[in-house]
Symmetry: C2
Subunit: 235 residues, 2 copies
């Protein structure tokens, strides 16, 4: 079918349109493991199965507004930076009907994420094995099957995150306002899946000029020298 024939058969005001959703990949780090937020689906199809928090996009609602709405209502989280990830548009990705999903990525410090866990909302461990991504419930060795193409969406998020880690300030979204260089290094190591050199990492981070020493030290009463707390200059 060429363009002329297609236009004859496709009048956008008369013919069927796809539905559009947004889905959120909300990542957090617990100890040395990445986790992603999953919610139990409250409607058909795949009722009671786990998937990414998402919603249909309203006809007078921008994609960003829809993503922010999901963040608040389905994820239960306060406003924070979301970045558009990719748009998934395979014809059969949802069995009920044609749905195109615009995925957004957000990173959440565990201190914040922890507070919103409920019976139907939790974080699953991400086990990234080369290009494959598997999920398992926290404290379990079982694997979790996700609905639709949600595993593929999470794999895309992980690839994007690794790619941006070095030149963007996205990693700071996983940390509280004040953090130590050790915590920042652990975030980088968990995302990249490998150990990093301490002096080189420190120099590289401090040379960005974006880390502001607070003059405060970490507390906790451990039997070792407490580290300086830093903030990041946003913008």
């Amino acid at each position: 079918m060429n363009e002329t024939e297609f236009l004859k058969t496709y009048d956008p005001s008369a013919f069927e349109r796809p539905s559009v959703t947004v889905d959120l990949v909300l990542l957090t780090i617990v100890r040395d493991r990445l986790r992603v937020m999953l919610v139990e689906r409250d409607q058909q199809p795949a009722l009671d199965e786990w998937g990414l928090p998402g919603t249909f996009v309203g006809i007078k609602e921008s994609l960003e507004d829809a993503a922010v709405r999901v963040l608040g209502t389905k994820a239960g989280l306060p406003s924070r930076r979301l970045e558009q990830l990719y748009t998934f548009g395979a014809v059969d990705r949802d069995p009920r009907m044609r749905i195109i999903s615009v995925a957004y990525l957000g990173l959440v410090p565990w201190e914040v994420a922890q507070a919103v866990v409920t019976d139907t909302r939790d974080f699953a461990d991400i086990v990234a094995d080369e290009s494959e991504v598997h999920l398992s419930p926290p404290g379990s060795d079982e694997w979790l099957e996700l609905t639709f193409d949600h595993s593929e969406i999470i794999a895309t998020a992980l690839t994007r995150l690794r790619g941006k880690l070095d030149w963007s300030d996205i990693a700071y979204d996983l940390l509280p306002d004040a953090f130590t260089l050790r915590e920042l290094q652990i975030v980088h190591e968990v995302i990249l899946g490998r150990r990093l050199n301490k002096p080189a990492f420190r120099k590289r981070m401090l040379d960005t000029g974006r880390l502001i020493p607070t003059g405060q030290r970490e507390s906790g009463g451990a039997a070792f020298r407490p580290a300086e707390l830093y903030r990041v200059a946003r913008g």
Copy 2:
């Protein structure tokens, strides 16, 4: 409006859905300038104004298939690599109705692009001034106004292209099968908007191990030493 209230009012099978289009940013390089393909719109609104080639996505057509269809029918180009760029979903980006557009990026050697220029399909010079992007018809100093948010889409494409240049093989899409290292360097310089060091560039490119010497030399009868022609190992 919280999620529960929203779901009561939004039944995806009954309520209005957005239309979805794909738009293509097709870039080429002529001498030392980037150009983007524009087509004269053949329908309302903005009839006869210039914009990116695009189409509505069919209800049983994947996003990629729609992009490939535009490439063939509206751009008149043979099949080539297209990469999803970004999805633009502001509510008022199109005056007729709610349209969400998924933008795709493709790079075309001028040797190929040149052949498909017609009265209603041409390439405009991109004048990138910091974060602003302006377009002018070839051989003119005037500026061209694009319909909708198409200038923003082109700016996004340029940013993406610069970001991927170093670690991906996307630049080779702008060159014919066989090319010289000088031509490859010019492609990089035009995209980045700055001059590069020749020995360093050569070493970096050859060290990737992806450049295969053909044993052929460039021809053309110019009064200087002809350069070796290379191919790139795809994959």
